[in-house]
Symmetry: C3
Subunit: 307 residues, 3 copies
């Protein structure tokens, strides 16, 4: 298996073999971040631009450290600082970045499909760091990397995604990749936050948290976007927490070795109690560590052999 794609836009298009190649590459790169000298020269003289039209310190920082540990040069452009303010279109802005002979653009954008449009128009590698409610491929890859590291496999595992499935690009990317790799995926959300027809993706659908917990090897609990509350997708935060928040009591019915995951930042006391977030099942901080390895792998595969 050799990597041949120019871009990483989402996991929907990737084959199981391609996903596995990224995970295997990440596994071999992970130890670099444990070294005294956390740096290899693999991408020396490459330029990686972080272009974040939606703010995200966490994801941007992770990509930036991944690039630096491969010795790439990095440059960060945020929307508020960029020419977008002067009325320049997204495409004009990135055409200009391309003309500076950069090797990769890591893009976060509020519009689903923005990275795909850019990938067609531009020669540098485009890496989707989250587009609208569409995909967030490196987040799902780090989730799955963490599961594989802990459980030594993905095939046959029961993975439940819990929370705002409708608006979650993290859920969408996880569903695509987990099903390709042979996991049994369950999604659990209030009916108002469940996209209609999602069961066609070959996954189990429930509005009952108990069902999502029972027999699960992994609970990947999504972040509630408080700002959505104004649209009244659920009656109140309190009711959401009662029905869909994960606490130690509800976990009594879980498998003894269940993994608790969360893409962060956590609303403590809402989707997870602190006891669960910081408890023995939680691998949330390991996800963050693995995020660096996965993003190093993506940058390495896309740029490592590029002219």
């Amino acid at each position: 298996m050799i990597w041949t794609r120019k871009d990483l836009l989402g996991l929907e298009d990737l084959s199981a073999e391609e996903i596995t190649l990224i995970l295997d590459t990440a596994a071999s790169l992970k130890e670099i971040s444990e070294r005294t000298v956390k740096k290899v020269p693999a991408l020396r003289g490459k330029t990686v631009v972080m272009f974040f039209v939606e703010p995200s310190t966490r994801t941007r920082t992770s990509f930036e450290l991944a690039a630096k540990r491969l010795s790439a040069d990095t440059l960060s452009i945020t929307a508020s600082a960029s020419s977008l303010q002067k009325g320049e279109s997204l495409k004009d802005t990135v055409k200009n970045i391309e003309a500076m002979k950069v090797d990769a653009l890591v893009i976060r954008h509020s519009s689903s499909g923005a990275p795909h449009m850019l990938a067609k128009a531009l020669s540098p590698s485009i890496i989707n760091a989250g587009d609208g409610s569409h995909e967030h491929p490196t987040q799902a890859l780090l989730d799955i990397f963490t599961i594989r590291e802990k459980k030594s496999k993905i095939k046959g595992l029961n993975v439940s995604l819990i929370g705002d499935i409708m608006h979650s690009r993290v859920a969408r990317s996880n569903i695509w990749a987990l099903t390709k790799l042979g996991a049994n995926v369950t999604v659990c959300a209030p009916a108002t936050l469940m996209p209609p027809g999602i069961e066609k993706l070959g996954i189990k659908v429930t509005t009952n948290l108990k069902e999502a917990i029972k027999g699960a090897d992994v609970l990947n609990v999504l972040r509630i976007q408080m700002e959505r509350q104004k649209d009244k997708f659920f009656p109140s935060i309190r009711e959401y927490t009662m029905k869909f928040g994960v606490d130690l009591e509800k976990l009594k019915e879980a498998k003894k070795d269940v993994l608790i995951m969360h893409p962060g930042p956590i609303n403590r006391g809402i989707e997870l109690t602190p006891e669960v977030a910081d408890g023995k099942y939680s691998v949330i901080l390991e996800q963050v560590t693995n995020g660096i390895a996965v993003r190093m792998a993506v940058l390495f595969l896309l740029l490592g052999k590029k002219k």
Copy 2:
């Protein structure tokens, strides 16, 4: 010809030989950005500070990449983040930056002459990245570099600058350098945006776009600053576009090999139609590419042999 100046403040003071030295140096450095490893050690261990009191992602990014490709360390300070907010004067702020033993300060400032004042007061090299409506030397240098690359000469060419000549530092720097190098310069603007007495610079002045287009080898179309509209320098955007906007129809009277240039970001449909901006005459994105080479040349000449 050996470079001897400490600073690059503007093109008014430079000789034709000095300008040519920068262009020749840029020509030899341009291919670095085409390499697999886009990096040479020329400025390793030098510190280049971007000090932008007016925002500009485009110019700052270009300088930052130029510095990184020469292996310099870079540091970016923006006005809103800086001590200027605490009431510190510009001079105190830069005196502090100087005391940190930096090698160059790339400065953008809304006041004409600010870089000159600093150059006298400070030992690091000062590079003017745009001061008020005075000069923007590296923009003009990249414009002229692009013309020379395409036309193999500057002497004898007919270059028309079109738009808000009065407020444009880009126009001013281009006029100084192009006339020194022997080009025939025409400026074209509404009468309200034409600085009185500008014909004394040895250039042709017109308010008729047709005249500026006819016989021109290069049309350098300037950006309309929408924010000036409140001062009513022209009756309406629509009228400006009718009289001074460049479209395919008006280009019918141009030379077959005319070059269309624009410093960006373009107001599409106002000063240029998309067909012109993206069409066969346009070298607008090549200007951006050449901006890196020209800025590498400036940094290299100023810092390359410095103690």
Copy 3:
């Protein structure tokens, strides 16, 4: 004397030997910033994160250059850009940074004690870059480094700290370190800006500037925080300047070789007249230069031998 601490949280806890070790290390690293190639590979492959919850271009820049001159990778996170905006707690944010396997966190925070809390919870080295009105250890270290460089000793010198002693972390850190090293410290402030009981630290207390100036080897003049004026700690800026502002007239009673210091940025004409700030006694810009050396020393001692 070998450095054994993980963190630099304040000078209250440090022994005279530890403080001297930092000063000696800074003295040996200072010349790196004078070289043509201002860079040594000591911290190659280390990651130093600047985490500034309160803005400070000056201190952040100094730390960033110090890290780069030791070849460390740097990453800057500001509060407004960080997940703190999304309601994430400080501890969750830094736990995430820790999980990215960084080596040091340079933190500025408006709450006294925040760095101490983090140092206990985290494995990376924590460097306090100013916490509330508690401590600002590297500022005091660079002040003392500058004094030692000029006077060849600290023991027995008369050092007066002048200004808002009550709210000043700079004053507090200076008092701890100077008294440990054997200096005679005087603090001088309006009664309303003098913390009750401060004389118990073994220092002389006065509200009379003349007393603070007479016989002093060093006047370290603190910055007046204009924003405190709303709390009416002193009747008017004008009255403050008359009583506590240092001008040439008042300096007539000073020693002939007195040093004038200020942590910057200066309110010119308020705590110092321009003639004093830029005059022959002033070592204010040398403090800035020495800040790089002191911060290089701190980073080197904390990270140089770390796994």
